[in-house]
């Protein structure tokens, strides 16, 4: 029931949004996203760690083909649902000082996106998962197309076709696995988990799934759509993409890839690991030389998620727990970061690092909050980023010390490019236009304070996150263990 509520509230709200006028729609969207947040909190209070697939809904959808509408929540899902429903009100708040044309459509698409994301994170039927996976693509495509920059048509189409290619491969893989289920075929997650697949089949199935998820995450060298799309999209679109949507890829690997094709992973896992680590180094180096602040954060995001993916492919408890913690941490931090860029850009009309500088004294509170978000991104101890990266590197280290060594560069390089950016933006000689930088507005303060609080609180006390996801991760690993 709770799962249905979590799905229906944003869906209905997005339809209602279409009928509201520009003035009311912002408040309405914020209100309903807060309702979703409330339901999530309520779900947390009812949640029992040790039981898999709680709040289960299960109806037939297309019975002839063994497709059902089956959704439920376990320790992994609930964290990602919580991330989605926590970030969405904040993302909507960040848009309050924007005047988008066709605002009602804009907010409707955002809420529809929320519906699809929750669907992805709760679906327990392979086909349903695929449907939600595609559904999430349509609103974000339209958001980036309609409110994006000058070149949005070309960039977003590339993004769309890129991701669609991946997901069609995934669909082909899912259908193959489905055809191997015994008796009347079924897309049910339990049926798919229990299929025995030949090593040869797992070998090519690995690429079907890997490409789909790797494009979404994105893992080097499939990342080429990402910097352009992030830079060109409106701020809220970038936040949705980087904060929540790329977690779909990681989640997909954990939920739909590890347990179904463990042997394929043992065959190709090393390749995937190397690609992820290569992406970490490559993207960090690219971030070092960026002049556009938004593009810099886009590249830093590739580096961070590369490490998360590496932790997942390490296939051990620390790696997966690190991935869970870091997914939450990265989601929160990157939204904070893009919001800071938005704040600067709206005041200064530029994001070029060379044209900024010396804001530190204009608004002390902004300086402090920016610093906290930044420290979260560079994984300083006592921030959320540290916990995640520590666990991830620990997991990768158990897999291969060399990989951990190379991957560990992200901490150093991350500190270099982020602190360089901070220095260029906030410190140094005030730029001629820096006087235009005024203090923060109320909504901006609320968002940044909320994000900073989460960064510090989960950094000091990350245990609940690790605790909640623990049993679910062990379940997943149990499927992999047979192989090793």
């Amino acid at each position: 029931m709770i799962t249905l509520l979590l799905l229906l509230v944003p869906l209905v709200a997005s339809l209602v949004c279409l009928m509201l006028d520009q003035a009311k729609v912002k408040i309405f969207a914020l209100g309903t996203s807060l309702v979703s947040l409330g339901i999530t909190v309520y779900a947390f209070t009812l949640f029992n760690n040790d039981i898999a697939d709680q709040f289960l809904v299960n109806y037939w959808w297309i019975q002839d083909l063994g497709i059902s509408f089956k959704a439920g929540i376990d320790g992994i899902s609930i964290l990602l649902v919580a991330l989605t429903n926590f970030l969405l009100p904040l993302i909507i708040l960040t848009s309050f000082r924007h005047d988008y044309k066709n605002a009602s459509t804009f907010y409707a698409l955002m809420l529809f996106m929320q519906f699809a994301l929750i669907g992805v994170f709760t679906a327990l039927d392979g086909f349903l998962f695929y449907i939600f996976w595609e559904l999430a693509l349509i609103p974000i495509y339209l958001i980036c197309l309609m409110w994006g920059g000058k070149d949005s048509a070309r960039i977003t189409l590339k993004f769309f076709i890129y991701t669609l290619t991946g997901s069609l491969l995934m669909l082909a893989g899912l259908i193959y696995v489905y055809l191997q289920t015994p008796g009347a075929h079924s897309f049910d997650i339990d049926a798919l988990y229990n299929v025995t697949l030949s090593p040869a089949a797992q070998s090519w199935l690995f690429w079907c799934f890997f490409l789909a998820f790797a494009i979404k995450i994105p893992i080097f060298p499939l990342h080429t759509w990402q910097p352009d799309t992030y830079t060109d999209a409106p701020t809220q679109g970038t936040m949705l993409l980087s904060g929540i949507m790329l977690k779909m890829g990681i989640y997909g690997i954990i939920r739909w890839m590890l347990p179904i094709i463990p042997q394929g992973l043992s065959e190709w896992g090393n390749t995937a690991m190397m690609l992820s680590i290569a992406g970490v180094v490559y993207a960090s180096c690219m971030a070092l030389v960026q002049k556009d602040f938004k593009r810099l954060v886009a590249y830093s995001s590739i580096a961070h998620v590369g490490l998360i993916a590496a932790g997942v492919f390490a296939l051990n408890l620390q790696g997966l727990q690190g991935a869970m913690v870091q997914m939450i941490a990265h989601g929160v931090n990157v939204v904070g970061m893009f919001f800071i860029i938005d704040i600067i850009q709206r005041r200064m009309k530029t994001r070029q690092l060379d044209e900024l500088g010396g804001f530190a004294n204009n608004s002390p509170i902004f300086t402090i909050l920016f610093m906290i978000v930044l420290l979260g991104s560079v994984a300083l101890p006592l921030t959320n980023g540290f916990v995640g990266e520590f666990l991830l590197l620990n997991g990768v280290y158990q897999y291969s010390a060399w990989m951990a060594l190379v991957g560990g560069l992200t901490i150093i390089l991350g500190a270099v490019y982020m602190l360089r950016a901070y220095q260029k933006v906030m410190l140094g000689e005030p730029h001629a236009r820096s006087v235009e930088f005024t203090g923060l507005h109320q909504t901006e303060k609320i968002v940044l304070v909320a994000i900073a609080t989460v960064i510090i609180v989960t950094g000091i006390y990350p245990k609940p996150i690790i605790h909640v996801a623990g049993p679910a991760i062990e379940d997943i690993l149990a499927h992999v263990k047979d192989i090793y």
Binding site: L18, D64, I131, E134, L135, L145, A153, F160, L164, L168
Partner: protein, 461 residues
């Protein structure tokens, strides 16, 4: 059968409207008549009666397709009102449309090759005239002429094929042909000229459904014919042609599918690639839709290749989804191209002018492109799944690739319509109520089928 009689009589009555001066009643008469025919067809569900010494056989398959093409014609009538109210030769148009439909119904229900031929000719000859019905437009005349020449050529192939089959089986009756093919195939004694006959009939049918490499007439005819007639050809006629194609091959030649399935698989792959690749570079929306309809023919051919127990339902679902999508797209094209310019650039500013209707057009485009959860996706899913089961994995891969190309050009519609209007463009006519109605109906049906696709598919399996 009753439906067929009603439609035929309706055609005769509308012809009289010129003489007896009740042209004002034309449109209501046609609508009421078609509704009645549709009701009668649905009322016969699950009866499966053979008529006239097994010349026509109305089983569930033909009843479903009959209802579908009648409903599509009714939907098509929504935007074609002008054609029947103000046009000077409206009586002739109405008659020809009804006779086309009549031929279509026969093509879904024949049980005898001679009936098939009669149905096909009734349909084709009416269409030749309709394609050139815009007498003052050179392109329309060209379209009619081209269609006629190509069409008669194809009919020649078809007839020759039928003659050879008749020579072998000594009967035009589908059941008898099927028995003959089955017994000879079981003993490995199928004579060579049966294979030749099958091939020739295939060629003829592929002309009709515009499969590559027999598709060259289609873009020119679709572009030249009046937009409304193009819409009719791309939906009702195409559906009927595929119904006939599938009926013939599933009833008669299933036992020698080893002979033709590979060929057809290659042709279907070539068709969808040709259609989709050529559609990418089109600047005229109408021509783009023409090429896209060629590509869709390729997908529907896949169901004939697969030929297993879900194929009948799959082809029905696909024809429905594709026709609904095309009708919606053509409604839009018709609305924005009133000044004879069918360029896709005309769509610029469409979203700003017609907010909610642009949304519906978006749904239709998603359905045509095969993006979930709209009807087009499930139609493709069933077709691909059936082909997968019949072990044509490579064909599925080609189809997926070509769908991606399809997404590229279909999304140009969405991209163009959200762009601001270019300054020099003249003010475009806004959507009339009729266009809005058709857009609304086809988009909602596409969504509805997407949410519950099992119903339509389950009708025929």
């Amino acid at each position: 059968m009753k439906a067929l009689i009603v439609i035929a009589l309706l055609g005769v009555v509308t012809m009289m409207s010129e003489v007896f001066r009740f042209k004002k009643l034309l449109l209501p008469l046609v609508v009421v008549g078609l509704l009645a025919a549709c009701g009668l067809a649905i009322g016969d569900w699950n009866t499966a009666i053979r008529y006239y010494n097994d010349m026509v056989y109305f089983d569930n398959y033909s009843l479903a397709f009959t209802s579908l093409i009648i409903v599509l014609t009714l939907l098509w009538l929504i935007i074609s009102k002008g054609y029947f109210v103000s046009d000077s030769s409206r009586a002739e148009h109405a008659t020809l449309i009804l006779f086309t439909l009549c031929g279509g119904v026969i093509m879904t229900a024949y049980s005898d090759l001679s009936m098939f031929f009669v149905g096909l000719e009734i349909l084709s000859i009416s269409l030749y005239v309709l394609a050139s019905s815009n007498k003052h437009d050179l392109k329309s005349n060209e379209a009619g002429m081209k269609y006629f020449l190509m069409g008669s050529f194809a009919t020649g192939f078809l007839l020759f094929g039928m003659a050879l089959i008749y020579g072998a089986a000594a009967s035009f009756n589908l059941v008898k042909i099927a028995e003959y093919v089955q017994t000879t195939a079981a003993h490995g004694q199928t004579p060579m000229f049966v294979y030749t006959g099958v091939l020739l009939m295939m060629v003829g049918l592929m002309f009709k459904v515009s499969a590559a490499p027999f598709h060259f007439w289609a873009p020119d005819v679709y572009e030249g014919a009046p937009t409304l007639i193009t819409a009719f050809m791309a939906t009702v006629v195409k559906t009927a042609a595929f119904a006939a194609f599938y009926r013939l091959f599933s009833t008669c030649f299933g036992d020698i599918s080893g002979f033709w399935a590979q060929t057809l698989a290659v042709i279907s792959a070539v068709t969808m690639l040709t259609g989709n690749i050529l559609a990418v570079s089109q600047t005229s929306l109408k021509r783009m839709l023409a090429y896209s309809s060629i590509a869709h023919a390729g997908y529907m051919l896949m169901a004939i290749v697969a030929m297993n127990k879900i194929s009948g339902g799959a082809i029905f679902l696909y024809a429905t989804a594709y026709s609904l999508g095309s009708l919606g797209a053509f409604a839009c094209l018709h609305a924005i191209s009133k000044y004879g310019d069918e360029s896709i650039e005309n769509l610029k500013g469409f979203a700003a002018d017609n907010k909610i209707w642009a949304g519906f057009l978006g749904v239709i485009v998603l359905s045509l492109a095969g993006i979930p959860p709209v009807a087009g996706f499930f139609a493709k899913y069933y077709i691909f799944y059936g082909v997968f089961q019949s072990n044509f994995t490579w064909l599925v891969l080609v189809a997926i690739l070509s769908s991606l190309i399809g997404v590229y050009y279909y999304f140009r519609i969405i991209i163009t319509m959200v762009q601001p209007r270019s300054e020099k463009a003249t003010v475009l006519p806004s959507l009339t109520g009729a266009h809005k109605a058709l857009l609304l109906i086809s988009a909602l049906l596409a969504l509805g089928i997407g949410i519950y696709p099992a119903f339509l598919q389950g009708l025929l399996s």
